[in-house]
């Protein structure tokens, strides 16, 4: 592929939550910055910029990944899903979001978007996880408010309802 020079603002077209979106960015711009500040999808948050806290997790072609550890130019042509896409056009929360609300699984809500995106991917691959599996998966996210238990319960409850439905 043609190189993108460091000063060049490349055109990046991607499918964000089902919509074709286009923006421009230098090669070094992080995907999280691009999503938030170029495309206005501020629901994804930035907590550490070194891949530990998990707040910026989005789905890249369906796969949960840190958007602070990816460049915007890498997302060209890809499908990116963020928390904004979970709620339907009437503002109705999906089952996982509802479960988080029911279980008081968020307080400040800053880390929540990343956690939801991880869970959306994970529950598709592991529809009926054990509590330990959920805790292992969530260990890729730091939450300083909740102490995690309510998050674990919300995820398990969602899985139970999905598999028994």
């Amino acid at each position: 592929m043609k190189p993108i020079r460091s000063n060049e603002h490349a055109t990046i077209s991607l499918r964000l939550n089902g919509f074709e979106r286009t923006g421009h960015a230098e090669p070094r711009m992080l995907l999280c910055d691009f999503l938030r500040h170029k495309l206005g999808a501020t629901g994804t948050h930035v907590g550490c910029e070194h891949g530990v806290c998990g707040a910026c997790t989005v789905r890249v072609d369906g796969v949960a990944a840190r958007s602070c550890l990816m460049l915007a130019v890498q997302a060209d042509g890809r499908q990116i899903d963020t928390v904004e896409g979970l709620t339907d056009s009437d503002g109705l929360l999906n089952d996982l979001q509802q479960s988080f609300k029911r279980h008081h699984a968020l307080q400040c809500g800053f880390c929540t978007a990343g956690i939801l995106m991880s869970c959306m991917d994970y529950l598709q691959r592991v529809p009926n996880p054990s509590e330990q599996q959920v805790r292992d998966m969530l260990s890729g996210h730091l939450c300083r408010c909740t102490g995690y238990t309510n998050i674990v319960n919300a995820v398990l409850d969602t899985a139970n309802r999905r598999t028994s439905a």
């Binding site: 629901g43 930035v46 907590g47 904004e84 307080q107 959920v134």
Partner: protein, 996 residues
């Protein structure tokens, strides 16, 4: 899973409450739909004015150094850079921050003459993007003269210690002694004296959202600030004074959402001032978002505390006197509101116990570390780590059951309100009942049976307890306890804790509540909706709550803000009172309309009616509309508006008295914790087997949110107990700059506690509620420490209880192993300065080596990655050196010095370097001994690495330092032998080829 049990729901303490349909219910939160949908509005989510610029901060890599020169010309010329703020601007436009004690210490928003901690701001660059601003930072050259650093808390206070602030002349910036009752006699006549020395480490609750602000300079109108700083807004005054503007010219607003605070966002204070100045210099709005490395390195920390505590104890375990000797370490500057960490707890230093005699000696010391400030629990973890460890020691030394020690010393139920020895007025409680609940249902008995079984199998199992008072609603006057009574009298009294709330009704009957509470996820909107809905007989969903804070438009006072667990008691209370005031106004109008007595008016189910004549009824909205559309219908002596503001301050919060007695908080909750831990004999890992926490926070407004607060505080406390610490090297290098180094607990590290409640309403707060968000931050670290002390039967326990540390306590029975090889060795301490020694055989003679030292061209070949080397004195050189380890590459400006030359036997080679990665300094002696035509070269080195690379790469510094040194001396051998280096191959390839 959770075992939540509410034991009693008492009647409200005042007659102002009507039907509690909603208060006390676990209502789901109104905040959640937006937060779960990505519609939260955090500081970095808000759009900014076109033309807004972005700031980045150059920070000190040194813990302590003189700031000689700053050269930012190259940075200023970088395309996109718009302004560079230096100390000259800061001196011109601002003043040092007001300090809480009388001291000539100067604390500015940028370093002026010296830097005093790693991460201290030195220069601000304002540019068109954060990316460009960071590019510019790399182009700024700062010349420092390194000074020795002081990092150890006890050492800092000694008379011959290195002094941080020359004008102060000592690192002890406050030294006060207090005496209550007759402690000397009590100790003299005591049957037993139990003493303990403990240390509490530096840590923080590190919210996942860092600090951020968007600032604009408005000329004559001063400064406009939007930031997630959450108070206390007494500090607004501190900022305005630093900016040399009236408070009215510093408008501060908060965004609707804040991503966690836990006190920590108070640390935004100096940055607000700094960015105001940057915006002024840039002539445009400036946005600055603190990044994680900056946050961990330089935001704030809880104080480290060194305490010697002693109790006079009767044979039955009854404590008759306590003596505290405490040193609080506040970092490089005493930043407001410090030294509040000491004084928040002062009135209640006797804890939950009835102890009539107390002696306290408090010293505040400064060290070359990040300034301290509010961190959830503020002062509590430090005090209780000493006091509750002491209770455990009393039980051990007097061979008593800890439960009996608690029972004998607790304040009795019939003593409330109880005036504690140092002045706290304990509002309500039943500590014996709480203990009985926690230990009850065979919970404690089961733990003890488990312990017996484990011990009989040789396993290490311990049980710990902690009983703590959880203060809420801080007395704004408590900090003045640091002053002598005479100084206080001169300054005038400070006291109270004013909270405020405004309730309004719109023309369609919609109710709005506005409070200046600036929450960070606690669910204030939901709880206030519950509280106000009950007053008006409406549904919580009908109440619109705004919790943003605007100093220009809101009703507020110095105590406003989100701290000291003041929401449930003070803010919700004020909202309740404001709603009552408005309701009463509506009631009077309704009574006039209906022609009935006001006392018969009720508000239920969206209707206003007379209980005497139920046919006299009106929809709530209709009556409210009347006030707006027909002022003529409003009773003659009423004002027409439907908006009431209430300011409330608990009258019990008096100023400290002449004997230094102070009621530090309006309400005191109670927490009693029990835990069982098992320690893995093989690895030293502490596993929390069971944790029971019993809370009495008065009336619970929303039990689901209350338990959420408890779980969150508990998780942070588990981190403080087992994982978290800001680590520094002996040279003041900061070593915990990433979330891979500062270890916050994950979902796999936090067990689920059993949460139990007792509700003894506070008689002093409008709703009977007390704060409950901080209790476990105070109780849990020491409870776990007590359990570990019990498991290992040890006296000294320091946090965090990391496996490496616990294993050292368990004891490693080192086998008869092979002797250490001749490999370079390092001292077996964690996080200390680096040193390396080694011996290599070279084919050059000692004389050849000295030939190299005398030839700058050869010397340049010896130094790995040396680009050019110029002499700046005899045996003194300057060079550009690129250090490369794997893909990590840093270009250092280096000074190299040869000294103590004793040809051909030995010499000392020293070097120091600075780069965007930080600073390094090393010195070592090289000795040479002839060996069959060659030589044996021995080196013994110590090195310090500080700044960014130490903060983020601490895990690899040891091996990296060894590698660089080994490389250096191998190279010395080669060059001395006359091996020339092929110019096409960089040194590292050559080296790797050799290692292969």
């Amino acid at each position: 899973m959770t075992n939540n049990k509410t034991l009693s729901t008492p009647s409200p303490p005042t007659s102002t409450r009507l039907n509690n349909l909603h208060v006390g219910q676990p209502l789901e939160r109104f905040e959640d739909n937006a937060l779960l949908s990505g519609r939260g509005l955090f500081i970095d989510d808000l759009g900014v004015k076109p033309g807004t610029l972005y700031a980045a901060i150059l920070r000190s890599p040194h813990a302590h150094a003189r700031l000689l020169a700053i050269n930012s010309e190259k940075a200023a010329q970088l395309a996109g850079v718009r302004a560079i703020l230096t100390r000259d601007d800061v001196k011109r436009w601002s003043a040092p921050f007001v300090v809480g004690v009388k001291s000539p210490m100067e604390c500015w928003s940028l370093a002026i003459e010296k830097v005093r901690y790693v991460g201290e701001p030195v220069v601000v660059v304002v540019a068109e993007s954060r990316y460009i601003a960071e590019d510019a930072l790399d182009l700024i050259d700062v010349e420092y003269q390194a000074l020795p650093a002081i990092v150890e808390i006890v050492r800092a206070g000694e008379s011959n210690a290195v002094v941080l602030h020359d004008a102060v002349g000592s690192n002890v910036v406050s030294d006060r002694s207090f005496r209550y009752g007759d402690p000397e006699s009590a100790f003299a006549s005591a049957a037993h004296r139990v003493e303990l020395t403990v240390d509490y480490p530096r840590n923080s609750c590190t919210p996942i959202e860092c600090f951020g602000c968007v600032v604009e300079y408005l000329g004559d109108d001063g400064y406009d600030v939007l930031s997630n700083f959450m108070g206390p807004f007494s500090l607004h005054t501190v900022m305005a004074l630093a900016l040399k503007v009236p408070g009215t010219k510093l408008r501060h607003r908060t965004p609707p959402d804040s991503g966690g605070s836990f006190g920590v966002k108070q640390s935004g204070l100096p940055y607000i001032v700094l960015m105001c100045l940057a915006a002024r210099k840039a002539g445009a709005p400036v946005k600055w978002i603190e990044d994680r490395l900056e946050h961990l390195t330089a935001a704030t920390s809880a104080t480290a505390r060194h305490t010697t505590i002693e109790a006079a104890v009767q044979p039955d375990g009854k404590i008759t006197a306590l003596r505290y000797d405490q040193i609080d370490e506040c970092g490089a500057y005493l930043r407001a509101p410090e030294p509040a960490t000491f004084y928040r707890m002062h009135g209640a230093l006797t804890g939950a116990y009835d102890i009539p005699n107390l002696a306290v000696h408090n010293r505040v010391v400064l060290t070359n570390k990040t300034p301290t400030g509010l961190v959830r629990g503020f002062g509590g973890p430090q005090v209780y780590f000493a006091l509750e460890r002491l209770i455990q020691r009393i039980a051990v030394e007097l061979k008593l059951d800890p439960i009996d020690v608690y029972r004998r010393n607790f304040v009795q139920k019939n003593q409330f309100p109880y005036r504690a020895t140092a002045g706290a007025l304990l509002d309500s409680g039943d500590y014996h009942a709480a203990l009985a609940i926690g230990a009850g249902d065979s919970r404690l008995a089961r733990l003890r049976a488990k312990q017996d079984a484990a011990r009989s199998e040789g396993r290490l199992y311990g049980i710990g307890f902690a009983a703590i008072l959880e203060p809420s609603i801080s007395n704004m006057g408590y900090i003045s306890t640091v002053l002598s009574p005479e100084a206080r009298a001169k300054a005038g009294p400070k006291n109270g804790a004013i909270s405020s709330a405004t309730v309004a009704i719109d023309p369609l009957g919609g109710v709005t509540v506005v409070v200046a509470s600036a929450p960070a996820g606690q669910g204030h909107r939901t709880v206030l909706a519950q509280v106000v809905a009950d007053v008006f007989g409406l549904q919580p969903k009908d109440i619109q709550v705004n919790v943003e804070f605007d100093t220009e438009k809101d009703a507020w006072s110095v105590a406003a803000g989100n701290y000291s667990s003041r929401f449930a008691g003070a803010v919700a209370g004020a909202a309740h009172l404001a709603a009552i005031k408005l309701r009463d106004k509506l009631a009077r109008a309704a009574a006039q309309n209906f022609g009935v007595d006001t006392s018969s008016i009720s508000f239920e189910n969206g209707k206003i009616f007379s209980r005497m004549q139920p046919d006299k009824a009106q929809p709530f909205a209709r009556l409210a509309a009347g006030f707006h559309w027909s002022p003529a219908l409003v009773p003659a002596d009423e004002s027409p508006g439907l908006r009431e503001t209430v300011f409330w301050s608990p009258e019990q919060l008096a100023a400290p008295d002449a004997d230094d007695r102070v009621n530090t908080s309006a309400a005191y909750g109670f927490v009693f914790d029990i835990c069982g831990v098992e320690i893995d004999r093989d690895t030293g890992r502490v596993r929390i087997d069971d944790y029971i926490t019993t809370h009495d926070a008065g009336t619970l407004l929303n039990p689901a949110l209350a338990d959420g607060q408890i779980r969150g505080g508990f998780a942070q406390a588990v981190g403080a107990a087992l994982l978290e610490e800001f680590r520094y090297g002996d040279d003041g290098a900061f070593l915990s700059g990433t979330f891979a180094d500062y270890l916050a607990p994950t979902s796999c590290d936090v067990p689920e506690p059993t949460i139990l409640h007792l509700e003894t309403p506070s008689p002093f707060t409008p709703l009977g509620a007390k704060g409950l968000g901080e209790g476990n931050n105070m109780s849990t670290p020491v409870c776990i420490a007590n359990a570990v002390a019990d498991a290992l039967n040890v006296k000294e326990v320091t946090l965090p209880l990391t496996p490496s540390k616990v294993m050292a306590m368990v004891g490693i029975n080192a086998p008869e192993g092979r002797a250490q090889s001749a490999l370079p060795t390092m001292p077996n301490q964690e996080g200390r300065g680096l040193s390396a020694a080694g011996t290599i055989d070279i084919s050059a003679t000692p004389e050849n080596v000295f030939d190299v030292l005398n030839d700058p061209n050869k010397l340049a070949q010896v130094i790995p990655g040396c680009h050019n080397l110029t002499a700046i004195g005899k045996d003194h050189y300057r060079a550009d050196v690129t250090i490369k380890i794997g893909i990590v590459k840093a270009r250092y400006q280096v000074e190299v010095k040869l000294s103590e030359l004793d040809p051909p036997r030995s010499f000392v080679l020293s070097g120091k370097g600075i780069s965007a990665m930080g600073v390094s300094e090393g010195s070592g002696r090289i000795t040479l001994a002839p060996r069959d035509g060659g030589a044996t070269l021995h080196y013994d080195y110590s090195a310090n690495v500080s700044g960014k690379v130490a903060a983020i790469g601490a895990r690899m510094l040891d091996s990296a330092a060894k590698f660089v040194l080994k490389q250096l001396f191998e190279k010395l051998g080669q060059v001395a032998t006359g091996d020339s280096v092929p110019p096409t191959r960089p040194w590292w390839q050559k080296l790797t080829a050799k290692v292969k």
